[in-house]
Symmetry: C2
Subunit: 274 residues, 2 copies
């Protein structure tokens, strides 16, 4: 019996984990942190009170910020309960296994792709509280530097878990910040398809033609990239799904096999927006 | 002759560095990064082209984010040019000396102080791109956890170097986010006096009485804390000015003396806002 706990922000990966775990005779319990450290703390306290718990798959919460719940993760580790992090992990819990997308490489690859298409002024929109946001930004800005393209902090816009909804609802206040960020640019790298599709809607309202006036690229190659008014060029997780790999690692750990952390490569899926 | 370079965001510390350096027969050159990695890169390239450069005092740029300019800092280090970081340093350049305020301890101390005053619902407003913001947040949320006060991610508001001006100008869009953040709280810890004084102006406009309806505390004990409509309870750098200490360390390094990094304690200065 596996009392694996799965904390997920996104539905699609959760299905993958559950598939792998069920097919290994495990009975996963799924808890949603909603990327809130308050929810994460409650869930971990709940798990620590459970007498039978075999392993935990964790999508870290606000992984770009110092985390106040590492005390509880360390207590789980002391009990010998294996932890496998996916999507985002904690820098200060560096002895735990992880499976992460190559977010630095992805940001780098997108800028390189845009540069090959002739773009030289490239903006970025990233999430500031998840480590994926920091790493995608780092790849983006490192590629600008290495290619010799202009770097300008004013062309980077940051948002958080808590103000994403305001951004997504397209409220007027963000419009101004968006316009300032994109001013003078011909292309933009977005944190994910969800934000990219919102951006495309805003740009179309503002009279932009895509990709002619502004090329838009992003990460995930999710359904957002297909249902957007202009289909979005996006990096795909391809057949390497971090959730599936993390689940397989957890199953192997429980069988006593040696395992190691992994960075998973992206595959570019070119569509209409670039 | 010292070709020390001083990169500063704040005027008052710069004066302190200059005092120390001039009094040691140094001729400091002062460069302003404006907390932009683009400006930082230009300045560092400029410095690398200078044949005579004895040492550099650096206030790190956007230190909570991965930095694309570490290649240039490493080139300076390879030339044997001493670097001393103050206010904020780079995690990935961990062999460089630093002088930092005890930002974690400060955040912790402010929550403890507010709790002793009877507050139990305490919000926070922090800067997301500087390591000081992360560490002040970490002290704040760790104190809430240790004291047993409720933690709620919705009571934390993050801003950046680039959107600070929108926040400071008190534009309507932020009003809503502020109200949502402070909803149900009786006290708030602010990243610094500049933001705290803006917040107080907004709260007064909204009809709040301070500290009766909302206690406000912050960091720096700067002139903002004295000229605000309600004088602000704030943590003071006291006689331990990180800029002065960093300058002294640089002078001692150049004289061949052994030196080590330091965290500098705060002193609470209670005024009218709490």
């Amino acid at each position: 019996l596996l009392h694996g706990c799965i904390q997920g922000q996104h539905n699609q990966p959760v299905v993958k984990y559950a598939e792998v775990l069920f097919s290994n005779n495990c009975s996963p319990f799924i808890y949603a942190t909603k990327n809130k450290v308050s929810s994460e703390r409650e869930i971990l306290q709940n798990l620590l009170a459970q007498p039978k718990l075999d392993g935990i798959l964790v999508e870290g919460t606000k992984t770009a910020l110092p985390n106040p719940n590492l005390d509880l993760y360390r207590r789980l580790q002391k009990r010998g309960i294996p932890l496998v992090f996916f999507n985002g992990n904690y820098r200060d819990l560096d002895d735990a296994l992880f499976v992460l997308d190559d977010n630095y490489g992805g940001g780098y690859q997108l800028v390189d792709y845009l540069h090959n298409k002739g773009h030289t002024r490239i903006a970025g929109i990233f999430k500031s509280d998840d480590i994926q946001g920091h790493q995608r930004y780092f790849g983006y800005i490192s590629a600008l530097r290495d290619i010799g393209l202009p770097i300008d902090d004013n062309h980077v816009l940051w948002y958080t878990t808590e103000n994403k909804d305001a951004l997504l609802s397209g409220v007027v206040q963000w419009q101004e910040q968006l316009e300032a960020t994109l001013s003078g640019c011909t292309a933009v790298v977005c944190y994910n398809d969800e934000i990219a599709s919102l951006l495309i809607q805003s740009l179309l309202r503002m009279g932009y033609k895509i990709p002619k006036d502004m090329a838009v690229v992003s990460f995930d190659n999710s359904r957002y990239s297909y249902i957007a008014p202009v289909q979005i060029t996006s990096l795909s997780h391809g057949k390497y799904n971090v959730g599936r790999i993390a689940s397989e690692i957890l199953v192997r750990l429980l069988a006593g096999e040696p395992c190691q952390s992994q960075f998973v490569p992206w595959e570019l899926v070119e569509k209409e927006s670039s």
